[in-house]
């Protein structure tokens, strides 16, 4: 008889307990889904900038949810109120949960006070993607940039986040850098909080 097992059936998702987060998704399944996402968006737009914006928006929705879920699950209900706090939260906790490892590096920009960079030797989402020459500087890491923007925006640190390829000598594939540029109000509030 089907359903004779001991699994408890919940009538409504609100009754189910929040999962502990130990579940893993296969990389190939994700890569397949992500490639379909990119291809679908390609048919809907006319230019590269629009495609990048759509991927970013898709990531933004993920980021907003990831922020709430992780603060509740992994940080025992403590919010981040400082700039460095939220950046290290993104760099370690968010990256660990999404990609299985912490990001390679977190740096502060040298030219501007409001710029920070998270670098990764190769973004997980880009592993099975190759960009044709006629697409120029397009980077599917825009999805990850959207996730970071969703997290920062949700926590009250509005920022412009973009993904760039940075060529590294000695390596065939370029490194990916997520560039975070915070809005003016964030720096003013940071200065006020001391």
């Amino acid at each position: 008889m089907i359903g004779a097992g001991k699994i408890k059936q919940y009538t409504n998702v609100l009754d189910k307990p929040l999962s502990k987060g130990k579940q893993e998704v296969s990389l190939s399944a994700f890569a397949f889904l992500f490639s379909e996402l990119v291809q679908y968006n390609q048919t809907q737009v006319d230019n590269i900038a629009e495609l990048e914006r759509r991927l970013e928006d898709a990531g933004y929705a993920v980021g907003a949810r990831v922020l709430e879920l992780l603060c509740h699950r992994d940080k025992g209900n403590r919010r981040e109120t400082r700039l460095l706090g939220i950046l290290s939260f993104v760099h370690s906790t968010v990256w660990k949960v999404l990609f299985g490892k912490v990001a390679d590096s977190l740096e502060k920009g040298t030219e501007h006070e409001d710029e920070y960079m998270i670098s990764e030797k190769e973004l997980l989402v880009n592993r099975f993607i190759s960009i044709p020459k006629d697409m120029g500087t397009f980077n599917c890491g825009a999805f990850v940039a959207g996730i970071v923007r969703g997290v920062l925006d949700g926590a009250g640190f509005p920022a412009v986040v973009t993904a760039h390829f940075v060529p590294v000598e000695g390596q065939q594939r370029p490194r990916t850098t997520i560039l975070i540029k915070f809005a003016e109000e964030v720096l003013q509030r940071e200065a006020r909080l001391g």
Partner: protein
């Protein structure tokens, strides 16, 4: 023992996305408007206070006559606000934590737009049950 209590969830953009009168006292017509007004007036105080601490439960932040406003701020700056006349701090904290979990489950729905009204009747039922249990 009759108690007045008005519970509201206000999003990051100061738009109420859920409200419920959960007290056991008799409901008067104008009291509901007054409760909403008091909660909205407290939003300014919450905004300033939220940046001074990394805790989520900010206890009683404002008073009006004998009514007290208590607030719980989530990571995404969604505010769970409760207007009440009791002094049961622990009960209120547990109530907020349980509603927070319910809110996260609603938020995880990919078809739910963050910041829009919560229309699920199941959510409403559960919040009222929690209010009866903890308040």
């Amino acid at each position: 023992m009759a108690s007045t209590a008005c519970f509201m969830i206000v999003s990051r953009n100061d738009i109420p996305i859920y409200e419920a009168e959960v007290g056991t006292a008799l409901k008067k017509e104008d009291a509901a408007h007054q409760h909403q007004f008091i909660l909205h007036a407290a939003l300014d105080i919450v905004q300033d206070l939220a940046w001074t601490t990394s805790a989520m439960f900010l206890k009683a932040i404002d008073r009006f006559n004998d009514l007290v406003v208590s607030v719980y701020v989530t990571a995404g700056h969604t505010r769970l606000m409760l207007l009440h006349d009791s002094r049961n701090d622990d009960g209120i904290k547990s109530f907020f934590q349980e509603v927070h979990e319910l809110y996260i489950k609603i938020l995880l729905n990919p078809l739910y737009l963050p910041g829009s009204r919560i229309t699920s009747s199941h959510f409403d039922t559960k919040v009222r049950a929690l209010a009866r249990k903890y308040l």
